[in-house]
């Protein structure tokens, strides 16, 4: 998974007790470069903390382009596949969408029948982390730095103004900036790389 985006980089230092609250930004998705056709399980294995056991036992609900997935060998291909991960969910719907669920027969078939573009080389995957998956694995990703779209990030910060007060420093191009400048810069780019530690 390579960093090939020509976009602004920000580094945020945050009060330790508030770090976990920043993981919710991952519900909107982060962008990761990978190899076209890579099996989903291998793609996840390359992420920090996503061991085979964690993927097998904890990641109980997986959507690829809005379709529930049971098979971790499913390849990631096409233009910007969107992968969403969740823990086990309640309700009949939660059971229906659970990986290899007894109730998966009650799903609607939403697999696209048109052929997927079998591109070669790299592709960009949007990875959404929901609920406890974001809390348990999000911090490591945020510390490493993630690519996020600025539109949902701006919504995230606008709905959680108090989080901005938990930021001790913001670095941009080796300079310290204030939160107002940070938000202004966010609105000027489509996507950014953000590290939060």
């Amino acid at each position: 998974m390579e960093d090939q985006h020509p976009a602004p980089h920000f580094q945020l230092t945050v009060a330790s007790d508030a770090l976990i609250l920043f993981t919710t930004v991952l519900q909107s998705g982060i962008e990761l470069k990978s190899r076209a056709g890579i099996p989903m399980g291998r793609f996840l294995n390359e992420l920090p903390g996503f061991t085979a056991d964690y993927i097998g036992d904890v990641v109980q609900t997986i959507f690829l382009n809005g379709t529930a997935i049971d098979d971790l060998t499913t390849p990631l291909e096409g233009h910007n596949p969107i992968l969403a991960l969740s823990a086990a969910m309640p309700g009949l719907a939660g059971a229906i969408f659970r990986k290899n669920s007894f109730h998966s027969a009650l799903r609607t078939d939403t697999k696209k029948t048109d052929s997927v573009d079998k591109q070669q080389g790299n592709l960009t995957v949007t990875l959404k982390l929901f609920n406890s998956i974001a809390q348990e694995r999000g911090l490591e990703l945020l510390k490493k730095g993630v690519w996020i779209k600025t539109k949902p990030a701006l919504v995230f910060f606008s709905k959680r103004e108090s989080l901005l007060q938990k930021i001790n420093t913001i670095e941009f191009e080796k300079k310290t900036i204030d939160t107002a400048t940070f938000l202004s810069l966010l609105s000027q780019s489509e996507k950014i790389n953000i590290r939060i530690a």
Binding site: Q27, G66, P90, L106, F130, N131, F156
Partner: protein, 575 residues
């Protein structure tokens, strides 16, 4: 204390205590309310008339120390659907009914005078008292007034203005341990209570206790049962994010009904998701975890504060947030919470009313996304009973008929909840065939595999899918009789010790020798009893259908339609 049937006749304002008929002895909760309604209510009666009866029944395990056993069932003929109806809720009442030795409270008849009353239930019987002070008041005022009026701990069931106006979406509210409200929300049972001119019911068990036939066996079974619940990952997710943890998932699936069921994804979903709600609650000093009844070990409820840190609402559920959120395109969680609080106060079903708002928005009554407008409409129109308030308060079907809207998401006139059946077709079968109108809780996930009702037909065929849905409904009907919260379903599904422990709890409570097969038989009996009532009330297989638009309006983003034919759906009842 031997359980009894408590009966109130509002026509002559008399009460009695009766022995339990042998046919009713093995029932509790939904099984008992449906059995009594079927036995005593003329199916063709007017739901708000003198011949309908309102039945309250704690579950078979309510009042005991069994984990998550605090659900109270309320049944009647529904003014919303015209079918038999059972709606259950947490709160403190189920435990207190059981401790008072009340197996069921049956309220019948209509008062002759134009007076309002309250009922006070104790082990000695029911007292009827004329009520004047609290008429016209919301549920929160009733809770507060009775805290001042009555000494000691008591259970409380009440109706708000919606019930007094006999609106078809009116619910019956039940006080929870913190003085917040839980709702027997669906089907308009609050209107039946309003028709009988009962503003509230208090329950005081005095020093009553529920007898356990085999206490040691009960304790052992409960230990296993509770551990299975606590350890299950779904229980943990529910405790952290509440049921609203589903928003992101269902939106991702494309089955999150949006803008009056015209889309399957809501752009503003992240602003109302369980994750966002969790952070907001923590930031504002609310409670992320909260139990709606004593003995709940899952604690999926929460206290949601406003921006100033004051309690705004409690028990903020996924279905309510979806309905007021995505279906009405409101992405402001505070507006949704405020609407939730108002609906709790006036005593009206959050699902039915919000879906009705979505239909009203399509009709141009107010714009999609207008959260403040919704709150104003609730306060100034529904609470005060204006013309438009009554149209919306009578449900989504009422709005559709009043404004000539054809996209009205109802089955048997009850609003379809938060899972679009085009994108999640298994739920569509439940919506269509439920004896009580569209209801996601009718076919929950209760260990159909362990109960050996998991289906013998290939589940990938439509026949197999209908069979699976049927078996879910059978198992759910049985669990609804125990007083157990449906969220035990997930542990029961995955932990092989959980469901046997539940059966052991029943056996220890009553000194029985039930097996899993008996649980299945009970569920089948309940469904058949309810179906027979509906048939006698005039319902046919033609009523077991989804609205036309689900078949011919593809749902974005997957562009799917519901594709079960009437003949395929009708095989549901082949058992």
């Amino acid at each position: 204390m031997a359980d009894k049937i408590f009966r109130v006749n509002m026509a002559d304002l008399t009460t009695s205590i009766e022995d339990i008929p042998a046919d009713w002895a093995g029932h509790g909760g939904r099984g008992l309310t449906s059995t009594i309604v079927s036995a005593e209510v003329e199916p063709t009666c007017h739901p708000l008339g003198q011949n309908n009866k309102l039945v309250f029944a704690p579950g078979l395990l309510s009042g005991t120390a069994a984990a998550n056993s605090g659900r109270l069932s309320i049944g009647a003929k529904s003014p919303l659907t015209g079918t038999i109806k059972e709606s259950n809720s947490g709160g403190t009442a189920a435990q207190l009914f059981a401790k008072a030795g009340c197996k069921a409270l049956i309220v019948e008849g209509l008062p002759k005078a134009d007076n309002w009353y309250s009922l006070a239930l104790t082990p000695d019987g029911v007292t009827i008292t004329e009520e004047k002070e609290l008429i016209g008041q919301g549920n929160f005022a009733v809770v507060q007034a009775l805290e001042n009026r009555i000494e000691g701990k008591h259970g409380l069931l009440s109706i708000g203005q919606a019930g007094e106006m006999r609106l078809a979406s009116a619910n019956i509210s039940i006080k929870d341990p913190d003085g917040s409200l839980r709702s027997c929300g669906r089907g308009g049972l609050g209107a039946v209570m309003g028709a009988k001119k009962i503003k509230f019911i208090t329950v005081d068990p005095k020093d009553g206790k529920v007898a356990i036939a085999k206490p040691d066996a009960f304790k052992d079974a409960n230990r296993i049962f509770a551990k299975a619940l606590v350890d299950h990952p779904v229980s943990q997710a529910l405790g952290q994010y509440g049921t609203n943890v589903l928003t992101n998932i269902i939106n991702e699936s494309g089955g999150f009904p949006t803008q009056n069921f015209t889309k399957g994804q809501f752009e503003g979903h992240e602003s109302i998701s369980g994750e966002t709600m969790h952070d907001t609650i923590k930031e504002r000093g609310g409670k992320v975890k909260h139990g709606c009844h004593q003995g709940c070990v899952i604690q999926c409820s929460q206290i949601y504060n406003d921006a100033d840190g004051k309690k705004l609402t409690a028990g903020f559920e996924y279905e309510s947030i979806w309905a007021m959120g995505a279906d009405c395109c409101v992405d402001n969680l505070d507006h949704i919470a405020e609407a939730d609080r108002i609906m709790d106060d006036i005593g009206i079903d959050t699902i039915e009313t919000s879906v009705a708002m979505g239909v009203a928005m399509e009709a141009g009554v107010l714009p999609f996304g207008d959260g403040a407008g919704i709150c104003k409409l609730l306060t100034e129109d529904i609470t005060k009973g204006t013309g438009i308030g009554r149209i919306i308060g009578n449900g989504a079907g009422s709005v559709g008929r009043a404004f000539g809207i054809t996209r009205v998401p109802v089955v048997k006139n009850q609003a379809i909840p938060a899972y679009d059946p085009r994108a999640i077709k298994g739920i569509g079968i439940t919506y269509a065939t439920s004896t009580q109108g569209a209801d996601h809780t009718m076919g929950y996930t209760i260990a159909t595999n362990i109960l050996n009702v998991g289906g013998k037909v290939d589940p990938l065929t439509k026949e197999g899918q209908v069979e699976l849905s049927r078996n879910l409904q059978i198992a759910t009907a049985a669990i609804d009789s125990t007083g157990m919260c449906l969220f035990i379903a997930f542990a029961a599904l995955d932990d092989e010790k959980c469901l046997p422990a539940l059966v052991d709890l029943l056996n220890a409570r009553f000194d029985l020798s039930l097996t899993g097969d008996d649980v299945v038989s009970l569920g089948q009996h309940i469904l058949k009893t309810e179906r027979a009532f509906n048939t006698a009330a005039g319902f046919t297989s033609a009523d077991d259908r989804l609205p036309e638009f689900f078949y011919n309006e593809p749902l974005p983003p997957h562009n799917v339609v519901f594709d079960f034919s009437g003949e395929e759906i009708d095989t549901f009842w082949d058992f």
